[in-house]
Symmetry: C2
Subunit: 204 residues, 2 copies
């Protein structure tokens, strides 16, 4: 089983975070971003979108997109699932994962793509729209803070994939210096997250 | 168990489509959009984001976000799962669901929000960015067309949640008259989709 990654790709980092929490014997193939290895015919046969992460199973099946890869790796690894143990807990965890993804992780990534001069060569930038994402992310941080006033982790009493997505998103936002207000419960959670093994693989 | 919906909300329509394929005895509560019932204190206690769909379980647990609601309803209903039967098929179906969601469904919804004069009172519109989503959606349609050249349904040999998301997204794009090119395999699939029970609940 091979996992293709790029050191700077936030979606690949999420999967590497999961593998720190639920170790598996997997070959990690680090592509060369400068050589545009993610756009070679060999890699496009694995993921036609030319994006990482991508997981190639031993029988040749290729899985792209960080969330299905994470769910698959979680399901074949030992220990409590990071996606929940019952239909109800799975639904609640996925709800918070989605909120963190759509309100924090994806907007933080898009903010960088659309507002940062260093990204102009890769993307047609819509700067005003990009800057509007600061408000989107702040709204999500407030929601997460309210959630954390009631629970230890975003998905409930246990650490879950929702925490991984939110932490990765927060680190991306911090990397791009998004002008965000701090939230008290979120700050406590960020400190607890920073002490986990998974946080150490985030290079941003 | 109560499912809160709004007749015109694309995300609620996706869940109603699933319920046509996997019927369950659920109370459907149609909120009044003109009365802004989704923003009342009573509904905000169910979903603080003031959005539908939202599912209230009999024990009081509330689940928002269309995908976890769909996965939950699928898991408690009879018949083959629309999310896959094995870890591998679940991953492949979720990969195609994500591609359809991030490349077609969400961009089609955002296109309407950002480019249509009738939506100007609800959203700060970034028209240039909104128009750029035509290219995003066309790229996704081409990808889905290539997939459908090899498989009967987007997730593989069986109809799945990936087809529901893609069909709902396509109908939203058509509703907003996005200027898209037709794709041959996708056209065949659209015809087959239009004959299914789930297609009949799409009002767009």
């Amino acid at each position: 089983m091979r996992l293709y990654t790029l050191a700077s790709a936030p979606n690949a980092i999420r999967v590497l975070m999961l593998l720190r929490e639920k170790p598996l014997d997997i070959e990690i193939v680090e592509l060369d971003a400068e050589a545009r290895e993610q756009k070679t015919p060999e890699f496009l046969a694995i993921n036609p979108l030319g994006q990482v992460p991508a997981l190639q199973l031993d029988d040749g099946i290729c899985i792209a997109e960080s969330l299905p890869i994470s769910r698959y790796l979680d399901s074949i690894s030992e220990g409590p699932s990071l996606f929940g143990a019952t239909p109800e807990s799975r639904a609640v965890i996925e709800m918070w994962e989605r909120r963190a993804e759509l309100g924090l992780f994806i907007p933080a990534v898009e903010y960088g793509h659309h507002t940062q001069p260093m990204m102009a060569e890769y993307f047609t930038q819509y700067v005003d729209w990009g800057n509007s994402l600061v408000g989107t992310v702040q709204t999500c941080l407030t929601l997460l803070d309210e959630r954390l006033a009631e629970t230890g982790w975003l998905g409930g009493t246990d650490f879950s994939i929702a925490d991984i997505t939110a932490y990765a998103g927060y680190r991306v936002a911090a990397f791009w210096s998004m002008p965000l207000q701090s939230e008290p419960n979120l700050s406590v959670w960020l400190h607890r997250m920073s002490e986990r093994a998974c946080a150490s693989v985030v290079p941003l």
